[in-house]
């Protein structure tokens, strides 16, 4: 199964570009770091508000910047997919990559839970109001899981052998 994924992806034109065009990898890395900063900057700000900090700002107001956090995520999803297509074997065999994906799933489920069941209640929280415990937990899980995604991503070349 994983052998099939590796051979199929490596046979694609995109995979060849990623490896043979020497500037492609550093370009995608740069964009991956820009996306990371956008995501953590914007989503982290909302998380802090959910935790009860920057209380002067209503939750809905902070949420207004979220499209930029999503933009950061999409940049990283695309560049991350390009890295994977370029060298699938070095990720599939890397335990750090699986941890990274694991924490991505945690972060994703947390967002899903927030947006489907808690967003309405959260948006009603105005300036100066504290947040209920559920939202504090969501904010804490979000910050922790995104930083773990960053950590395991950074560990890819050290715990495994990814470049």
């Amino acid at each position: 199964m994983s052998h099939w994924i590796v051979t199929t992806l490596k046979a694609t034109t995109v995979s060849h570009w990623m490896i043979q065009l020497t500037w492609m990898w550093p370009l995608c890395e740069t964009l991956h770091f820009v996306g990371l900063a956008l995501l953590i900057g914007v989503v982290g700000l909302l998380d802090l508000r959910l935790l009860g900090f920057v209380r002067r700002v209503p939750v809905a107001a902070v949420h207004g910047l979220i499209p930029w956090g999503i933009a950061g995520f999409v940049i990283n999803l695309v560049t991350g997919a390009l890295f994977f297509i370029g060298a699938p074997d070095q990720y599939l065999t890397n335990v750090a990559w699986w941890y990274k994906i694991g924490f991505l799933v945690v972060a994703g489920l947390n967002v899903l839970y927030f947006e489907t069941t808690q967003a309405g209640r959260a948006m009603a929280i105005g300036a100066g109001e504290d947040t209920p415990r559920t939202l504090k937990v969501i904010g804490a899980v979000s910050i922790a899981s995104w930083f773990m995604v960053l950590y395991w991503g950074r560990m890819l070349p050290f715990i495994g052998t990814a470049f």
């Binding site: 890395e29 770091f33 820009v34 900063a37 995501l39 900057g41 700000l45 920057v54 207004g64 960053l150």
Partner: protein
């Protein structure tokens, strides 16, 4: 100068950082450098975006606490960066891309300090964003993207027009 860099590179900390296989050596310092980037550039980008007119429901005056996160990120990166530089002082300090990156970081910090004065300074009217503030915010986003690119390119000496 060369003698100083050699001494720095041969110091106990530098040698440990380069040669230790411990996950607490190079990988951890590099991770701290990425976390600092996320805090500094992420918080700065959130402020820039608001100044540029996104997320208008947030009062600009409420975003001043972001500066605390920017400075935490800045100092984490100044320290982790100094340690990373010491580890490979003779090669890194002489690399043009390192000096370019250092200049860009200095420019990024200078621009956000000017932005601080334009938005929160004593001579400003609360809630009014001047055209100069907008220009500084746009310049800030641009400089950080280029600084991140320069940082990434330090790992690929010679790739960018021989630099």
């Amino acid at each position: 100068m060369t003698a100083f860099l050699t001494t720095l590179e041969n110091s106990g900390l530098s040698t440990w950082l380069r040669e230790s296989n411990s996950i607490w050596a190079y990988p951890t310092v590099l991770t701290l450098h990425t976390i600092g980037l996320a805090l500094l550039v992420g918080a700065n980008a959130a402020l820039d975006l608001r100044v540029l007119g996104f997320g208008k429901a947030i009062a600009v005056s409420d975003l001043r606490p972001l500066f605390r996160w920017m400075w935490i990120g800045f100092w984490v990166n100044a320290l982790s960066g100094a340690v990373l530089l010491a580890a490979d002082a003779t090669t890194k300090a002489a690399a043009p891309m390192f000096l370019i990156k250092l200049g860009l970081v200095a420019a990024g910090v200078a621009v956000v300090m000017l932005l601080d004065r334009q938005v929160y300074g004593p001579a400003t009217t609360p809630g009014v964003i001047t055209p100069l503030a907008r220009s500084l915010a746009a310049a800030s986003l641009f400089i950080w993207v280029v600084a991140i690119a320069a940082g990434r390119l330090m790992a690929y000496p010679g790739l960018f027009f021989g630099i």
